[in-house]
Symmetry: none
Subunit: 403 residues, 2 copies
């Protein structure tokens, strides 16, 4: 939700101009502040930001995006596995990328193609258990299971149309990195062989659609070596969010993942369904993370009008949460996982606003929930990884340090 | 610039009483805060402060003053060299210090004496390449080049008149520290032999001036092992400052050093020349550090009136910078590298005010640039090493952490 001042809004931010009575109520009855999700000036990714908001030291524990996205998509990843984010893409005969998303291929086609990419048999020295799964549209994950792999390998995805698919290279001199690069390169070659003559692709070409004849991969990662929240704080925690990456981080933190019908991780998500699921989940859990991806999407698209509308939609369903949650015994924190600028269309390192309401917070004078108003609040300036201990302290789950 | 409240000013600070329309304009159009340059309560030196303001973790990378001062004076220092800050001093026959600055000896005399101190030949086990260079007045630097040296040696400078020149001692049990102490003691003895009968000193005595017959040394250091700013942020950075120590830190950070005619590092510096050089440098660089030493000098001298005048002079030339810099595309941050108290005449650990103006900062309600007003600003309380990431984020040079 957080943004920078925008010229079209007379140097105010979308949060400052949006109509948001529920967010303001939380600020008014709560304690406010600003928060550097990782550290001042550092633009967080969605994965590192979520790790921090769950209380982990992202700078220490982050181990790449691939495995988080995989487990967030329901693919099992073991601690020694290396996982990649993948795209179905369209390439020509010279392996020049024509479309990095294969025309945003529909799930049905992608699923059929993915099915053919199971159980690839490589020569014995490279043989590994592999798992390839399509997720949403052109997106997919690849998990490689073998002893002695490394995440220190480059991407095959050149990141741009018109460039050739890259060879995956070891990023250090270890035998593990060299082995991993070799396996990935061989796998991607096998995938290409299978895909280029695939029945589904032949049909796509007939229908005038770009064939999904190549798999691009990037973001080699392992699951982070972190203790589950249940073990750290003794809480039952649940995630209500549709974005695979956010779900993956929550899964790595040992949280339950709830599937909400109509929750899509897009601006067209069913906001109220998520709010209702949150109220339900609060009845049986100590901690609920409700994540809405939509405002970030609007900023990435540079869509000012949509961003304000989304904030107002979020505010509307927060009204439902406020009405249906016993705030005499429940704490509610509202924040953003990072600033996304409508101007640069990127994640930025500016701090995010934070407001916490509930029975025993020390209320301050802040009456509005936005980047500037919250900066005057009683929390002052905190770090993302402080939030979880602050909340756990409020609900009586913090352990005393010392005697 | 930063100071503590002064009784004579009715418990206000020099910044609070000075007439400073340009500083106030920066506060008014910007985002303000207070900053612990190193950490709360810790008085920074000019060297550690500048390291922090350039984004380095001074507590980890600081490696003594000597080498920084040397490279800031244009002396080449290699990573394995050990360098010292030196003073030309006057001692009697018993090596009791009579004047730590040899009557603030003029540059011309110091240069002639320094010339005689080159290429000292010691016995083979102690032989090293040495470089001795006078800088401003009584100040000089000594660089020792030999394999296996250490910075863990004490000072020969007793710091006070009336005390005997100290033997340099190893500060730990390493053979490196012992060797270094031995070499320095032998060198200083040779220097004394040459200086005491030197023609220049004989003439000085005839003219009633104290002879510069001894070299005092302190602050053994190596150049810090830090990555240049160009590598960390991909920026072209330049320093406009005359103080050798500040220049040395900037040099260690890979910054270009600009020589400005009339810039002296004293209260008599040509303020406008530095402001003009800054505006020029901004045309071809991504980052310009403009450093003015004068307010610190006034505080060290306990000169309240002068400190206020200097602040007003700085404000005047900042007006020129504001008028001649396109603030629709440039960010301008104003701060101090430390608090220097007019009362204690020392660097103090009180936080310093900071204000940043530019196109996309989140403006706050602060309208004046001083220690107390800025404490109410939207930056809240940050650390010195946060400043560079915050600025790099604003100009789009921060790299995202995570995906």
């Amino acid at each position: 939700m957080a943004d920078r001042p925008v010229k079209e809004l007379d140097r105010r931010t979308p949060l400052e101009v949006a109509c948001k009575p529920s967010l303001n109520q939380i600020a008014k009855t709560g304690i406010c502040g600003i928060m550097d999700v990782i550290s001042p000036g550092l633009p967080p990714g969605s994965d590192t930001a979520t790790l921090a908001l769950l209380g982990y030291d992202a700078l220490k524990v982050y181990s790449g995006r691939g495995a988080l996205e995989a487990i967030g998509s329901g693919v099992e990843v073991l601690p020694s596995d290396v996982a990649f984010r993948c795209n179905f893409a369209t390439v020509n005969e010279d392996l020049i990328v024509l479309d990095r998303r294969a025309g945003r291929i529909v799930n049905k086609d992608a699923a059929k193609l993915a099915e053919s990419l199971q159980k690839i048999k490589l020569e014995k020295s490279l043989d590994a258990r592999t798992l390839f799964k399509n997720t949403i549209q052109h997106r997919a994950v690849l998990v490689i299971r073998k002893h002695g792999l490394s995440t220190a390998v480059s991407n095959s995805d050149p990141g741009k149309v018109g460039e050739k698919v890259l060879d995956v290279k070891p990023l250090n001199n270890s035998s593990e990195a060299k082995l991993t690069a070799k396996i990935v390169n061989r796998l991607l070659r096998e995938f290409h062989k299978i895909l280029k003559d695939h029945r589904v692709n032949k049909e796509r070409v007939k229908r005038g659609l770009p064939p999904a004849n190549m798999i691009l991969c990037r973001g080699a990662g392992t699951i982070p070596d972190i203790k589950p929240l249940s073990q750290i704080y003794g809480i039952r925690a649940v995630c209500i969010g549709a974005t695979p990456l956010v779900r993956g981080v929550c899964k790595a933190a040992g949280m339950k993942l709830t599937d909400v019908k109509g929750a899509t991780g897009t601006p067209q998500t069913d906001y109220m369904a998520k709010a209702k699921a949150t109220v339900q989940a609060l009845k049986t859990h100590d901690y609920v993370l409700l994540h809405v991806k939509a405002p970030d999407v609007a900023s990435h698209d540079g869509n000012l009008k949509q961003k304000i509308e989304i904030i107002e939609k979020i505010d509307h369903v927060l009204g439902y949460v406020l009405e249906n949650t016993g705030l005499e015994s429940t704490y509610l924190a509202v924040t953003a996982d990072h600033t996304t600028s409508l101007v640069t269309r990127n994640h930025e390192g500016d701090p995010v606003p934070i407001a916490i309401t509930g029975p025993y917070v020390r209320r301050d004078d802040v009456g509005e929930y936005d980047e500037r108003a919250c900066a005057k609040g009683g929390l002052n300036r905190i770090r993302g990884r402080d939030l979880m201990p602050i909340l756990m302290n409020l609900i009586g789950r913090a352990k005393k340090f010392g005697a």
